[in-house]
Amino acid sequence: MILEIRDLVKYYDGFCALHEIQMKVQEGKVHAIIGPNGAGKTTLFNLISGMHDITRGEIWFKGKRLNDLKPHLRTELGIGRTFQIVRLFSSLTVLENVMVGRHCRTNAGLFKTFFKFSMKELDEEKDSREQALKWLDFVGLAHKMDQMASNIPHAEQRLVEIARALSLEPDLLLLDEPAAGMNPKETMVLDALIAKISRMGKTILLIEHNMDLVMGISEIISVLNFGEKIAEGRPSEIQDNPAVIEAYLGKKRGN
């Protein structure tokens, strides 16, 4: 069990966004979280990555309790994520964006930057560059490395976000609607990419509205609705689950 969520509750000023969520994510699996808008999917990601505080309950990652850990320390433990609305650093180039992902795996401080005496720091910088380039190549965007991040197309920005998250060597990758705003062709590329990341042994937690993508790629699906987990299982089980159909389409008349 790489990630375990116990009795997780989140309130925003009296509004209950998540209620008593239990979830176990197995190592190496592609685990999807689906549900209608406002179901609490992104809230769950924000609690795991530490952007928001937990109201009640616990999150355990690789045997460590995350509750009181600052976001950057959780990242250091091996949690990488992308965002629902792309959040690339607009004043940096594509490559520099991915290199920011190397931050927590390197140590050069401000003063060592200035006094470039030791070869160690120079090697570290070179290594960061190579690693970042490797991940950019992995998502097929090495040729865009020197462009400003804000100047490339939306679908490519999403891929750069994935490369940036991968460059910090995460064991768990949180993908928040990676296919949003992508056309069918771009979605196919993404599909193959996620499969490739999964084959590398990384655990993927995926929020996605594109059902073809979700059903095709995920091994386990959890369904959230109004902050509660209403179903969990293999894709085939979820497709036929009456509670899930009801959450998405409403109740059948006469029932």
């Binding site: 600052k70 990242t75 920011v100 992902g101 931050h103």
Partner: protein, 280 residues
């Protein structure tokens, strides 16, 4: 010639001040306390040389270090607030520093601090510091911490989730900025020979911001250009001098409309680089 030299020297000191504002600014921290840090550096170093007989260079460094330490102290509450509130906090701090010096008899209180040993080579020292700062900023741009600073300035939350310790990075940027301002103050004090609290009012802090916004915020050449041009212009066109602040105001509004990134942007630097490549 002497006149030109004195104008260039003052411009040099203002370049240092503009860069001192620029460093925390990269991480999204807008400080109105830079004139206050300058005052600390000025008084700190002046006490060293005039009262304790310490040589110029260590005295100026000492002033910078005191400013840096106070910058660290102010940086802690500054971590939690943003935008207008941070502006108010730093404004208040700058004014407190000024009022403290007004009431501080050891350094002459409101009457000022006379008899600071004159440094003949102030211009040389100022531009040496600028040279070091240029090396620092150009290396920063392509370094781990530099990228982290930029990332924080763009999107603090995203930077934190990507593993950047924003607390330490922002504190570092703020206190090193204060240190640079303190060095600027020390150099200033030994050029003027006489300092008084009025010289470090909040309007000066605003001027440093104008230098940066006008010159350009994308790369450190912007603040250097802004401080240089905006110090020289009023000197050469005496008529402008009295209307300086009004002209700054109009200039800023015009800049916001036609070129919000400032005169010198990344595109300017790239264009210059291309020109040099062609010339070769």
């Amino acid at each position: 010639m002497d006149y030109l030299l004195s104008v260039a020297t003052i411009a040099g000191i203002y370049i240092i001040m503009a860069l001192s504002f620029y460093l925390p600014f990269i991480t999204g921290q807008i400080s109105l306390a830079q004139a206050g840090f300058m005052a600390i550096g000025a008084y700190g170093s002046a006490v060293c040389t005039a009262k304790w007989g310490i040589p110029y260079v260590p005295a100026v460094l000492f002033g910078g270090v005191i400013a840096g330490v106070l910058g660290f102290v102010l940086g802690v509450p500054a971590l939690r607030i943003k935008g207008i509130y941070l502006l108010l906090l730093t404004l208040g701090f700058g004014e407190i520093i000024r009022v403290v010096f007004i009431n501080f008899n050891y350094v002459g209180a409101a009457e000022g601090f006379p008899g600071i040993p004159y440094q003949k080579y102030t211009g040389l020292y100022a531009y040496a510091v600028i040279f070091i700062l240029i090396i620092f900023f150009s290396r920063l741009r392509n370094s781990r911490m530099g990228r982290a600073f930029q990332a924080i300035g763009n999107d603090e939350t995203a930077a934190e989730v990507l593993g950047v310790n924003i607390t330490s990075a922002k504190l570092m940027a703020f206190s090193v900025g204060a240190f640079i301002a303190g060095i600027g103050g020390g150099i200033f004090a030994h050029y003027q020979e006489y300092i008084e609290p009025l010289m470090f009012g909040v309007m000066h802090a605003v001027e440093f911001i104008v230098f940066v916004i006008f010159g350009g915020i994308q790369i450190f050449w912007g603040p250097i250009f802004g401080a240089f041009v905006l110090t020289l212009l009023p000197e050469f066109f005496r008529a402008i001098q009295e209307w300086r602040m009004e002209i700054y105001g109009v200039l800023l509004i015009v800049m916001m409309i036609i070129r919000p990134q400032g005169v010198i942007g990344l595109d300017t630097i790239q264009a210059i680089e291309k020109l040099f490549q062609k010339a070769r």
